[in-house]
């Protein structure tokens, strides 16, 4: 929809850095102590790219997503770090300034987005609310309506439903409508947090492909968050694997899938059997995610790592470039085997 009338034609050219996150560290203050939820997270996302953040529940991926929009919980504290959108540090902005960026530059599709609708307002009114706020000059009622109908067509929902209430939509329709609303102000970046978790597999597939198509068509950047690595693989260009609040591996999707360099990524990829591929011995992940009130010393993964040594308990590994921009935090990345057709090498 990048027509001449598009209000936000000031999109940076594809390939230029859009979002730069540097050393982001965040803690939650609870009555039992401080939970170290996000530690030294950093990545660069270019315009038009799709980044996937994958990891178990509680690894901090949603916290990062919330931080990007400054929607963090009341007891969350930023210890240090920067989030730069087109060069501007979002963490340094006032509340009022941040509000102008929300939805118009970065929008979000939440986890369980089906409940993200206000039950007493019509869906169309809720979408228009965001547009009225951010699109300047404000669109007339007719123009807004036209745009919303275009959006609904784009995501595959009957435009007549704009006048209905959320409870009249099915789960899948609500999800699509949420995507439409996320697109309404033509953002540069959309964050999709587990966008398909609560849906059945068929609808999941449809929505994923729709999202990918839209992303390419509109040239938007996307951040996909999921615990389902198969989903992430389908739609992303870059993957970041998170564990216990840290990004332990970051690289192109192809690279990370074919040649994971972190034991955790390896185990994650290997924990699901393949239906079509050959039978291979599964390498399940022992143990549980750590308690972030009192995280493990050194490398946070060492209690569950098959490759762990003394060093891993004592020292936290630095982020290393192992070739072509593929980053990993592990002392023993060279020992991590490749995933071949035959199974464990």
């Amino acid at each position: 929809m990048q027509t001449a009338e598009s209000p936000m034609s000031t999109r940076p050219a594809a390939g230029t850095p859009l979002l730069e996150v540097d050393d982001l560290t965040m803690e939650y203050e609870t009555e039992n102590g401080n939970v170290s939820a996000v530690v030294d997270v950093g990545f660069t996302l270019n315009a038009g790219e799709a980044l996937g953040l994958v990891g178990e529940s509680g690894c901090g991926k949603t916290s990062v997503a919330m931080a990007l929009l400054r929607l963090q919980a009341d007891n969350a504290r930023f210890r240090h770090g920067e989030i730069r959108l087109n060069g501007e540090d979002l963490l340094a902005l006032s509340d009022v300034e941040m509000r102008t960026h929300r939805w118009s530059d970065i929008s979000m599709v939440f986890q369980g987005a089906m409940n993200a609708w206000n039950p007493v307002q019509r869906v169309g009114d809720q979408i228009r609310e965001a547009m009225d706020l951010h699109i300047k000059p404000q669109l007339s009622r007719a123009a807004a309506r036209e745009r919303m109908e275009e959006l609904f067509n784009l995501v595959g929902v009957d435009p007549k439903m704009l006048d209905r209430y959320p409870h009249e939509f099915s789960g899948g329709m609500r999800q699509r409508a949420i995507i439409a609303m996320a697109l309404s102000c033509d953002p540069q970046l959309i964050i999709a947090d587990e966008p398909t978790t609560a849906l059945d597999v068929i609808v999941q597939d449809q929505i994923l492909h729709q999202l990918k198509r839209i992303q390419h068509e509109l040239g938007m950047a996307m951040i996909y968050i999921s615990h389902d690595i198969a989903v992430i693989a389908e739609v992303t260009d870059i993957i970041g694997v998170m564990y216990a609040g840290r990004i332990v591996e970051l690289g192109t999707t192809k690279e990370v899938f074919e040649r994971p360099r972190h034991p955790y990524s390896y185990l994650l990829l290997n924990s699901a059997p393949s239906i079509t591929g050959p039978r291979r011995k599964l390498a399940p992940l022992k143990g549980e995610p750590p308690n972030l009130l009192n995280p493990p010393t050194g490398c946070r993964f060492h209690p569950r790592c098959p490759f762990a040594t003394e060093k891993c308990v004592v020292e936290s590994p630095p982020l290393e470039d192992v070739g072509a921009g593929h980053l990993v935090e592990c002392w023993h990345w060279d020992q991590v085997p490749a995933i071949t057709e035959k199974g464990v090498a």
């Binding site: 050959p278 039978r279 291979r280 011995k281």
Partner: protein, 370 residues
């Protein structure tokens, strides 16, 4: 060649239980002992949860204080106080004080108008005379810490005596409410269908009708004694709002798998209702018991304030006696006739309410703060 993945050896067909030395099952404790121990553990945990809410503790503290007062009073009457003076209903004491006859009264406790003096003493007094007249009601003094009421009875004794009435009433009302509401709610939830509809419609009707006007009329037609009022409140409450709440609680129990299991195992309807559903509903009903007591205390006080109760002495009645004799609307001088009694009602009713709310957090895990 793909590797064969071996599963673990399946367990031997004859599964063996761990044996105690000398044979027999390991667990020797009788069932009732185990149940008791679990109950104790659960109570301790619930108490800790309850105690987290300071306000609930305040409420509980107030209730206990009142309970102690109620228990002390008979002892006081027996050992310490002279019943002729201190009996809440039949006692009489009117300390004598000096009154000056004046044109215009500025101090109610030491001055009288000519007219009043003529009534209370003799028709021949004149302005300027100083008379010795019994004070009735008398302000607080050393012998009567809260003074006396218009009939010469000790206010403190009345206050303490009425506590008993309040607890008795509250207890009856609460018990009846819980009994009826639990049964009604469980039956409605279990049988569903038209029984459910009918009972809930009825509950709507009961909720609809404002209690005070109905009780006013009932109080006029029949003699309202404390037990009768308790039962009435219990019935009306039990079929009304409480039934609705307990029904949804019972419903959530009814749909649990273990109820189906019980049915499949051949349990009769009655058995399931009494052995499975009701025990799971009872904790919540204890909660509502607290709120019923709050309501009952306030209702009784209001009714006896209006003079419609057939009760020997209660807080509401204390205010009624003072009000009907005009002592409360002639100014603010007779404060001891109004403040203590009303305060007692408010405090005790509020205490049950606060304790109930704190209990809500125990029973309703949703409300707990992490």
């Amino acid at each position: 060649m793909t590797e064969r993945v071996d599963l673990e050896e399946p367990a031997a067909p004859g599964i063996e239980l761990p044996q105690a030395p000398g044979g027999g099952p390991v667990v020797q404790e009788p069932l009732w002992r185990i149940r008791l121990r679990l109950l104790w553990k659960a109570s301790r945990r619930n108490w800790r949860l309850f105690a987290r809410n300071k306000i609930g503790l305040v409420g509980l503290g107030i209730i206990l204080t009142f309970a102690v007062v109620a228990l002390i009073h008979p002892v006081l009457m027996d050992r310490v106080w002279d019943p002729a003076i201190y009996h809440p209903v039949k006692g009489y004491d009117a300390p004598v004080a000096e009154y000056t006859v004046v044109e215009e009264v500025t101090d109610e406790f030491s001055e009288l108008t000519l007219q009043e003096a003529q009534i209370r003493s003799n028709p021949f007094v004149r302005v300027g005379d100083v008379l010795s007249i019994a004070q009735q009601p008398a302000p607080p003094s050393r012998t009567h810490w809260l003074g006396t009421d218009p009939l010469g009875r000790d206010v403190l004794s009345q206050l303490m005596f009425s506590t008993r009435a309040a607890f008795l009433l509250g207890g009856i009302a609460a018990f009846v409410t819980v009994f009826i509401a639990t049964t009604v709610g469980s039956i409605a939830a279990y049988y569903g269908g038209w029984i459910d509809s009918a009972l809930m419609r009825f509950a709507d009707l009961v909720l609809l009708v404002p209690l005070i006007p109905v009780l006013i009329v009932v109080g006029a037609l029949f003699s309202l004694t404390l037990p009768l009022l308790g039962v009435l409140i219990g019935v009306l409450s039990g079929f009304g709002g409480t039934a609705i709440v307990l029904k949804s609680q019972a419903l959530s129990v009814t749909v649990k798998p273990f109820v189906d299991a019980a049915r499949v195992a051949g349990g009769s309807n009655r058995h399931i209702i009494f052995r499975h559903i009701i025990p799971n509903v009872v904790p919540l009903s204890f909660l509502y018991m607290m709120f019923t007591v709050t309501e009952a205390i306030s209702l009784e006080a209001t009714l006896s304030f209006l003079g419609l109760m057939n009760v020997q002495m209660s807080w509401g009645l204390m205010i009624n006696v003072a009000h009907s004799q005009g002592y409360l609307l002639s100014g603010t001088s007779f404060w001891w006739l109004l403040i203590p009694a009303g305060m007692a009602v408010t405090l005790l009713a509020a205490a049950f309410f606060l304790a109930g709310r704190a209990m809500d957090e125990v029973v309703n895990p949703r409300l707990r703060r992490r």
